[in-house]
Symmetry: D2
Subunit: 124 residues, 4 copies
């Protein structure tokens, strides 16, 4: 029931079953799902739209607010998983390989405390 005992395959199965039971695969083209993902990401942003960066760090103090944010994050994650199901992408491998690229682009020693890639490293 918790992140330490739930695999990505478990998540995929939860989402797959939900989609199957509603015969929604017909709507789940990668183009449409990429839009859904962006739409849900925007709904998540709405909660942080008018508050300051520092204030956003304290959003967990308001249980109702946090619960709404949690639901939006779940929606985004659902669509990530639905897209992985549709395109048959192993998320675990994808994220590990991307992290290797990120580590090359942002070497830890040269990236501490600033976000832009060090000089000479171009955008991957």
């Amino acid at each position: 029931m918790a992140d330490s005992s739930t695999t990505l395959a478990d998540l995929r199965e939860i989402v797959r079953r939900f989609v199957d039971e509603r015969d929604w695969q017909q709507f789940h083209s990668p183009k449409n799902l990429s839009m859904s993902l962006a739409i849900e990401a925007a709904e998540l942003m709405e909660h942080f739209q008018w508050i300051d960066v520092a204030e956003s760090r304290r959003i967990g103090d308001d249980a109702n607010k946090l619960s709404e944010v949690r639901d939006e994050i779940a929606d985004v994650l659902c669509y990530v998983v639905a897209l992985a199901n549709e395109l048959d992408i192993d998320l675990s491998a994808a994220i590990r390989e991307k992290m290797v690229k990120n580590a090359a682009k942002y070497p830890a020693a040269l990236s501490r405390g600033h976000y832009a890639p060090p000089l000479g490293n171009t955008k991957s």
Copy 2:
């Protein structure tokens, strides 16, 4: 190494370590991360911007294209996980609870083959 043996806690640890090694937690306010998520979702959409829905289902036929899309999906997932780390949200519980709400909003029997909630069900 694959989705069947990687837990969400494993993912969280991968992302946490990457952020820690670069001292990036200072940038990872929920407000900023919600923007990052939306930005990466838009980069993913770019791959589907000018093609048709049907064409997007065949994107896996082009190995290079699929590899780019896979990287963008990994980026989105990384920020979902980074946000969960920041807000101390159990993703597995969040997605399961959201799925219960979704199932109430879109009962399988009334939702087969169309995407709008059945009459009388309002947006949650």
Copy 3:
């Protein structure tokens, strides 16, 4: 050459000619253009992703940064205009009518200094 002497019809003509000369109308379905708009909006956001709210107010102090932001705003506006061309929407009328709805939702007397609609006013 400036906003005081350029009409919305002038803008529409500039965009229409650019699209016509490239035979791009075939790509400009409302669905695709709505994606383009969101993608350009995300590129604009990128400039503000890691900085604070207060810092973003000083972006004009950096001429290069401002010039980049200006280009992104122009891109967003181009797609707004392209969409209006495609759907034959009078932007001037659309904005005036929406402002009337906004004024009803956020009455000036009750909305000074806070962004949420006053109690009893629902989301339009």
Copy 4:
């Protein structure tokens, strides 16, 4: 009242007055406004999320749907104008200068009927 007689300066004045009357300038940092723009763009996309490209071209046949889409476009445009007001950007000049760059990147003769820049032209 129509696009042929409304200048961009007119639009800017409409938006400026609305913001002033509510004392909302305090919320209108460029960072926040860039989020608002992306959020409104996503709300516009929602109308096209599950329909096909061809179907989206016929959205004008449904007067109610078109009216909703029109309102969302107005919202996006309002935030473009609010951002221009905040950053003191002449939209007319910005769009004309961006169009010159776009024309260099996508020469008409080489871009007819396809969207990618011709070989050798890099992303600006």
